[in-house]
């Protein structure tokens, strides 16, 4: 069994925009590993803890416990960081339209700048891979706590339509978190693995994956345990967020038109309004109507009922945007809708009935008496599939020894030719690993360097594609123009990441090449950002678990100490306060001990005792924000951009 392999377990990780999960294979079934709070989902939220009294470097909180900090210290919190992975500074600035975060002010901009954007949290700055590394480290710890043993190897999922830079950034994050990333797996492909595991399936399936921020469609052929991806397509800027933004914009415009109140001037009110919009969206998946009833700063009420028909008309243009990629994917795979045997739905947004209807139409399902598959929880299915792939990579497991995934590269790879056009050298939807060999020569006598620009994308002009890297073939022996023959090999590996090598053939010399990635961190930078150097030391493991348990206890204790200063405290009953104090005192007393399990249990108990307080605090913050009374400082810190869905949305609206 892989589980008892001397190399330890390999876990599967879904590093999501909104939530992240870690799963493993228990025998022949993939299972999600819950966190300390018992929840399977770890919100992808990272908070920088308050400055330490002793001046030490602040610690970081991740997941559910980081949510509270969103209200207390929003300027020290970031969520949805996946949107920034592998992005340039200019692209990151563009993302600020969609969600709130601060870019470090000293960031340099320029046409040649390949600087990775850094996010300002409190007094410190972090690159997106570093922030993702904190989320990954939390998942790693959850798994280690669950197994009682170190976990150092993982499979991480990425959107199928992620480009080279985004994939590299994800791998970098894994390395910083102390994880050896054995493979990056595309999310829709992982979902197919989770669905295809339990039955010996044959045929052609489509995976429709509409998440919070990205859309992927993949078409696979299943045969004899081989999952062969035929085509993939998608949109890295299409998801449930777009629906939230639309509802929000409509509401804000109506409020301004009907009540003369410009809520856009109050960032925290915008965030609260967005929360109401998400609430309505979720309700409309299960009920025929939803409504807004919100008190405005001038005392008016904004009241609005949204019948499902109206809502569906509104969101139709957004949903329609998934149709194009689906049709292109079928065309590329050379299949007609009737030839798709099964359709699998993945991602929270596929809970919307109108999405399911669209999928039925796109793939002509109803006429054939078929329904899309929704048996597995759309929030968990990707992590479950990642666990299956982890088991395949670990080898020697009966459950998965017959399975093999053959994935493709989502985007064509090309090199910039004369006139700025692109010569494609590896077409999209080529099975990976894939390679191409190109020959280059010189244009001038004695020329010693040749510059090559590698791009990714489908457009004809290099300027319209994603720039991956520029490099120089150096040290070409002096020869007449056109005589040198430099062979460059481009290879896309099984993670979808490009490798390049070159040699001069006439002289037999290996041409020196230095690749400057257009965006991304250097090896040295990644090395310096590795979170814990002691992570690999197995002998320290139990000691580390104890230290972590104490740290978690300290985090919640310091939050509870600050609690009575919050207005929401007054709303608690005497009994509730007493329960909190009892749990607090108990945790303080047990914290100095050596029993990490007892410390953990006491921490969970205190967390549960304070749950209603946390909810009250949220509500208070939201309603006062609507009236524009408090949170001014928070508002200023966050800037006045539209804000993304509140990561608490899920918990709040159940």
């Amino acid at each position: 069994m892989a589980a008892n392999n001397e190399n330890g377990r390999v876990v599967g990780i879904d590093l999501g925009t909104t939530n992240s999960l870690v799963a493993y294979m228990e025998g022949s079934t993939p299972v999600v590993i819950p966190g300390v709070d018992g929840s399977n989902l770890v919100p992808s939220v990272v908070a920088l803890d308050p400055v330490q009294a002793d001046g030490g470097r602040p610690t970081v909180t991740v997941g559910n416990s980081a949510r509270q900090a969103l209200i207390e210290t929003p300027e020290r919190v970031i969520y949805s960081v996946k949107r920034l992975m592998g992005r340039s500074l200019a692209e990151a600035r563009n993302e600020q339209k969609f969600f709130a975060f601060r870019i470090a002010e000293d960031s340099e901009e320029g046409p040649d700048s390949n600087e990775v954007p850094r996010v300002q949290l409190g007094e410190l700055r972090f690159t997106p891979p570093e922030i993702s590394a904190y989320v990954l480290r939390q998942l790693k710890r959850n798994a280690e706590r669950f197994f009682g043993a170190p976990v150092t190897q993982a499979v991480i999922t990425v959107p199928a339509y992620f480009n080279d830079a985004q994939r590299q950034a994800t791998k970098d994050a894994g390395r910083m978190a102390g994880l050896d990333v054995l493979r990056l797996v595309n999310e829709p492909t992982a979902a197919a693995l989770a669905y295809g595991l339990d039955r010996a399936k044959e045929g052609t399936i489509a995976v429709y994956d509409l998440g919070g921020g990205t859309f992927d469609i993949s078409i696979l052929k299943l045969r004899d345990g081989i999952f062969e991806v035929r085509s993939t397509n998608g949109d890295t800027h299409l998801g449930g967020d777009d629906i939230d933004n639309l509802l929000l914009t409509i509401a804000l415009d109506e409020i301004f038109a009907e009540h003369g109140v410009d809520l856009r001037q109050h960032p925290s009110a915008v965030q609260a309004m967005r929360k109401a919009a998400i609430d309505a969206k979720i309700q409309l998946s299960y009920q025929p109507a939803a409504s807004f009833d919100i008190e405005l700063p001038n005392g008016d009420r904004y009241q609005r009922e949204i019948p499902r028909e109206v809502y569906e008309d509104l969101i139709q243009p957004i949903l329609e945007r998934t149709a194009g990629p689906c049709k292109q994917a079928m065309l590329d795979a050379g299949v007609l809708p009737e030839q798709i045997d099964e359709v699998v739905l993945v991602g929270g947004s596929t809970r919307i009935p109108a999405v399911q209807q669209l999928v039925e139409n796109l793939f002509h399902l109803s006429a054939r008496g078929k329904k899309p598959h929704t048996e597995l929880n759309p929030d968990e299915v990707v992590a479950l599939g990642a666990a299956v792939q982890a088991d395949i990579l670990a080898g020697s497991s009966k459950a998965t020894e017959e399975l093999l995934l053959l994935d493709v590269t989502p985007l064509s790879l090309g090199i910039e030719a004369l006139g700025g056009t692109v010569a494609k050298i590896i077409q999209r939807n080529s099975t990976i690993p894939a390679s191409a060999t190109e020959h280059f020569t010189t244009g001038v006598d004695g020329q010693a360097n040749v510059a090559i620009h590698v791009v990714q994308g489908e457009r004809e002009l290099a300027a319209d594609c994603r720039s991956l890297a520029r490099f120089d073939l150096k040290g070409i022996p002096p020869m007449s123009a056109g005589l040198p023959r430099i062979e460059v090999k481009f290879l896309i590996d099984a993670d979808g990441i490009l490798q390049v090598s070159a040699r001069e053939q006439r002289s037999g010399k290996q041409a020196q090449i230095e690749v400057k990635p257009t965006y991304g961190l250097t090896d040295e930078q990644v090395e310096n950002m590795i979170l814990d150097s002691f992570d690999h030391a197995e002998e320290d493991f139990s000691k580390r678990l104890l230290i972590e348990a104490r740290n978690e206890a300290d985090t919640i204790l310091s939050a509870v100490e600050r609690a009575p200063r919050n207005p929401a405290w007054a709303q608690l009953t005497a009994e509730e306060k007493e329960n909190i104090e009892t749990a607090q005192t108990y945790l303080v007393s047990i914290k100095a001990g050596e029993d990490q399990n007892a410390i953990r249990e006491a921490t969970v108990a205190l967390d549960q005792a304070t749950r209603r307080f946390a909810e009250l605090m949220m509500e208070a913050a939201v309603s006062t924000a609507i009236r524009g009374k408090t949170m001014e400082t928070a508002g200023e810190e966050m800037g006045d951009e539209i804000q993304a869905p509140h990561p608490m949305a899920r918990a709040e609206f159940k």
């Binding site: 010569a423 099975t431 991956l468 099984a494």
Partner: protein
């Protein structure tokens, strides 16, 4: 994007090893994997020897797929998740060679181009971008129609939205697609001649077939570029 050492990258042009480096058994099923001792081989050989095939134009595609899956199971990097660095490197190089070979051989046109090039034929590049004008000239029998087509395309690009114009363009496209199918049939007929020539060492027959096919491929490329251009201009893929 990362760099790797050029020395470790296999050259698909190099001759295939014929015996296993480990057990010296002869490599019949594939140049990349030894059936006898189960060892992965240093990647080498051309696309046909990857599949243990003689270089022929007529291929059993069902067998090719079966062999592709079989070899993928042996060579894919997922099978070497915890193997040594050397084996990982070979697996990456071998499986990319396998994938490149499968992609090239399963498509009849790319297979034909590949094999003829291996035998010294010069075949023009596929359409590779807007500014890369196809150097080949219109086949004589199509000159008139192509001239007419280009005029219509120009009108449409200038903003003429006339429905009759679109109708006529889409009919022209239908005709060119049919001509393309005709070329495919003619190509297939030549495959048999080429294969037979190769099988029995009849170089004259093989070269005659090759010459015909090079011309057919040029014609086909010209037609497919026309179809692509009409489709792009009509915007109705």
């Amino acid at each position: 994007m990362t760099m790797s050492n050029a020395a470790n990258i296999p050259q698909s042009a190099t001759a295939a090893a014929t015996v296993c480096w480990s057990c010296s058994a002869s490599l019949k099923e594939s140049a990349l994997f030894c059936e006898q001792c189960g060892k992965i081989q240093p990647p080498s050989g051309g696309y046909f020897s990857v599949f243990g095939l003689e270089p022929r134009l007529n291929l059993d595609l069902g067998m090719l797929e079966h062999q592709f899956h079989k070899l993928s199971r042996k060579l894919h990097p997922d099978r070497f998740g915890r193997a040594s660095e050397q084996e990982k490197e070979w697996s990456l190089a071998s499986s990319s060679l396998l994938n490149d070979a499968y992609r090239t051989l399963k498509d009849p046109i790319s297979r034909t181009r590949h094999l003829l090039r291996m035998h010294g034929a010069e075949i023009g590049e596929e359409f590779a971008g807007k500014d890369k004008k196809d150097p080949s000239r219109a086949p004589a029998d199509l000159l008139e129609e192509v001239f007419e087509l280009n005029m219509q395309l120009e009108e449409l690009r200038m903003g003429d939205e006339d429905a009759g114009l679109k109708q006529s363009l889409s009919e022209a496209r239908k005709k060119f697609v049919a001509l393309q199918d005709e070329v495919d049939d003619q190509l297939r007929a030549e495959w048999a001649k080429w294969d037979e020539g190769a099988e029995f060492g009849n170089d004259a027959a093989r070269e005659a077939a090759q010459k015909t096919m090079v011309a057919l491929l040029d014609r086909r490329r010209y037609l497919s570029n026309l179809v692509r251009e009409v489709t792009e201009t009509l915007g109705d893929s």
